[in-house]
Symmetry: none
Subunit: 219 residues, 4 copies
DNA sequence: AATGAATGAGCCTTCATTCAT
DNA sequence: GATGAATGAAGGCTCATTCAT
């Protein structure tokens, strides 16, 4: 498979193909997306997919990887990893980062859609996602919560809190279609998303603080 | 949990078709499921789908509706609706009910899988789900939280809390594939699920209580 | 796969398909023959091959079997099997039968061509040919030669003589293209074929007789 | 058997291509062999075939010609052409030479396979074979048999005897797949092949001698 | 002279659907 | 009312070939 520099000339067929593939796979899913459609939109020959990526599935995996690279270029959670900051602030930063990334509806939005589709209906490519994105983020979040709990919590409680927070955020992605219909104000604009992130942070911080007290009380 | 005898005569082709369709659509998704496979498993003619349901999509919509009817027979949240109970208890009941329904891996599990697949990848049939299942549940949860907040919260805060709780629960469904790989202990057996529900309830209750105090404090 | 009676209504798509397939496979070989061409000539849909025979290869195997059934309808070597006749006469009968079958250029000729193609370039289907046609004929020929040699020959000599005779006959099939160019008189018409068969029989009989003498001489 | 050093520089792409092409065409046949495979094995660019040989078919024809040149370097029938030897001996020599050439399974075997494939399934390239290899050999064999028959035989009998002998030999090539399964001892090793050649020679000589007597008898 | 990226024609197959019975 | 034989559209993929460099 020919090498493709992700930042390379977007005029190159392989790059056009990759970008279009992300869009089309996100819109229709792996099965419903057709190679013919992707090639037509990318203005390349039908055989190009097989030429560059060996198969439709090969293209899918590369598209997934590409989507991550793109999305991570625009959202960074470096600040949330800064352990010199108070954990409360780091939690706010993290949730803000994560929610914004999930809801990014700019030209990058499709990447997130492709990824959440993959999570809901996992293929062999899921391992790529987990290794590249989920695990590092879980680790950061776990560190933050660990500090909030003052190191007193066991591993399992930590993980449950991680899931509580991720769950609140992912809701906006996975059940997006429902939110769009029942509670559109929550994601109407950038300010609304900010407010939603604020809610999740306050909600979770309150819960963790309370858990902390409960753990401390025996002392 | 009340036993259900309402199922129509399973000898009728149309009913066999419906049951099998739920299983197959849940397992493979709309596109990958084939009419031939469904008919073969249901021991009916290939043309039966078109005969009884007009098209593959027609069968899909009916299967979705059927899945709801079945799943709601086995999981009831009547108790959570009982407004004479203290809202804290009702919240526990609701979360317990909801999480168990989501994770039901018995022969009924396929229905849930079909439904969450539909949410992650919505088709025209999504409206059916929303009307039949989501809205009533949101209403109940909203009522519970409203009481916990002592009626002081505005509509939007209420909805945000509803989403916080649903999000924590749905995480177990939508990101099931990730949980299976990274945190399988959380859903290992009935007791583990119980514990997960317990965590969500405690976590959320703590958060809401704290929010409540924050709202009260100005007084 | 739907059952096809070999003598059944030639109007049935499956039968038309089979007949055409024999012709096309014989003419172009397995790989060069296209399903589209076969279907077009048989006036059936492109999907018919997969419907009736599961795959192109399935059709090929059935076509091979069909070719045998057809060819054997028109050429019988019953007389050559009649052990009450003198073996010299039986050898003449056998060679005559075998050569005529090989060179049958009537509407049945294509079947033979298909078969010899399969022998020259064996596929998995070759076992079918061997089991159905080669072995029984070898057995008959072996019996005849055994009697000519008066039972004195060992198994290996017997087999070598079988091969000598078959080789002389098969030459007309396998190297047909060369004979057509270098020695067309040998197969010009029915009389010429008769004469060719006569030659092979006389030639072989003479050889075997001589071998017989050589074996007897020690006495 | 004279050693051959005439092969052109094997470092040249065009020569590597030719050698590999013979192997691949022999193994897979014209259609199933792919230009890409040949080029890959020959370590040259995909476009090389079209560049050097104009087309896949052009390469095929050159490969065929090349195969002859190679095979004739290693098997010579000069001795069989020596008219000072007794014709009986020359016949033995000829058959021995011919059978060994056909069954040569050394690294040269592929050439023979390619050639017999071409005979069984003739393409336009067949004329090359006939002109270069078949006709000269037939002439030699005809001369030998003519002498065995004492010049009394007519042209057509001569040709029939030629075919009887060639047929017995070619059997080992064309029906190789059947011999492999039914009578593998006949070609197990060099000694077995020798014995097979011996049989054909004895068998044919006996037949011809007998024919000779029959022709003489009227005298 | 030689390359390799890119093409386009065509192939086998799958599948939902139809229609005569 | 229900069947199953038959269809046609479309999809992924392979391969020889071309063309700019």
């Amino acid at each position: 498979m020919p090498e493709a520099h992700l930042t390379a000339n977007p005029e190159l067929p392989i790059n056009r193909l990759l970008q279009i593939a992300v869009e089309v796979f996100a819109e229709h899913g792996f099965r419903d997306a057709t190679v013919r459609d992707i090639c037509a939109r990318a203005n390349v020959n039908v055989a190009a997919v097989n030429y560059y990526f060996r198969s439709k599935e090969g293209l899918y995996i590369e598209a997934l990887t590409f989507a991550f690279a793109e999305i991570n270029k625009h959202h960074s959670y470096e600040a949330a990893q800064d352990s010199s900051l108070p954990p409360e602030q780091r939690l706010h930063l993290f949730i803000n980062y994560f929610l914004n990334k999930l809801l990014d509806d700019s030209h990058l939005g499709v990447q997130g859609k492709l990824i959440s589709r993959e999570i809901a209906e996992p293929t062999k490519a899921l391992d790529i996602i987990i290794a590249k994105a989920v695990i590092p983020q879980c680790t950061v979040l776990e560190d933050i919560i660990g500090r909030l709990l003052g190191g007193r919590a066991d591993k399992i409680t930590l993980q449950r809190c991680v899931m509580s927070i991720l769950g609140q955020c992912l809701m906006f992605k996975h059940s997006r279609s429902i939110i769009d219909r029942l509670f559109p104000e929550a994601i109407a604009d950038q300010a609304a998303i900010q407010a939603s992130a604020q809610h999740i942070a306050v909600f979770s911080l309150a819960a963790i603080k309370q858990l902390n007290l409960a753990t401390e009380s025996p002392l």
